[in-house]
Amino acid sequence: MVNINYGVTKMPDNSMPLIKQKQRYMEMVKESTPKPRVLRNVFWAFVVGGLICLVGQFILSFFLARGLSFNEAGAATSTTLVFLAAFLTGIGLYDEVSRFGGAGGIVPITGFANSMVAPALEYRAEGLVFGVGARLFTIAGPVLVWGIVTAWIAGLLYYFFR
């Protein structure tokens, strides 16, 4: 889902003087040694994820100002963000968000919506049942299973030990 650009490395030209070829080879080795990408990834995850949540906060404030309770406004915000993410995935823009932001595009609820639309769209040729219908839940299925089971256990413990 997230594409990584490994960069295009120019091959050493055989017409170059030998010493230049050796220099170029050393550069190539340096270029292809994995650099610590983690810091850069973390930075962009923070920025992109933060911005999506900031957009969410604007939407949340809008609904709160219209007199909705916090839970209602939260649900309306999720609904709006899910709609936006489904649309952006459809026109191919959300892929850019994920490529750029890594987990910043995955962790927010927009990433959850993206994880539903992207495979459903890709496998549409397999039909409306096993294509779109089933693939919508490729990732959303596990998320719902884990979320619901965890919440169920929490509720059960609360029932017995409250």
Binding site: N41, C53, G92, A103, V107
Partner: protein, 118 residues
């Protein structure tokens, strides 16, 4: 001020997801991140530690998938308060119903409307 914290807390939660993908030797895919976040959110919420984060950061805490877990867990706990044992089963999904329905309906419509790209 809540706008500032929405950005910072939301960004920080995404950083945790990024670190899980980058620093774990096991192949930690986006699906693993989402599953981990929804369950972690539900657990943290059930022991009462997620609501303070929501009070501080607003959408910074509710928009990440941990917020979805929080919604499910609080729904289950409220379900128990109102309906007892039956609420254990009905509360969670009831609370998260709007998000789930939006994701299914808009996801389905988007998959039908747009052309898959190469």
């Amino acid at each position: 001020m809540q706008f500032f914290w929405a950005f910072v807390i939301g960004g920080a939660l995404c950083v945790i997801g990024q670190l899980l993908m980058d620093l774990t030797s096991y192949k930690f895919t986006p699906a693993h991140v989402l599953v981990t976040f929804v369950s972690a959110g539900a657990i943290i919420s059930a022991i009462g530690l997620y609501q303070p984060l929501v009070n501080l950061a607003g959408a910074g805490a509710t928009v990440p998938l941990t917020g979805f877990g929080h919604l499910l867990a609080q729904g289950a706990l409220n379900g128990v308060k109102q309906h007892g044992l039956l609420g254990v089963f009905s509360g969670g999904v009831t609370a998260a119903a709007a998000g789930i329905t939006a994701a299914v309906v808009f996801g389905y419509l988007a998959a039908l409307t747009f052309r898959p790209r190469g």
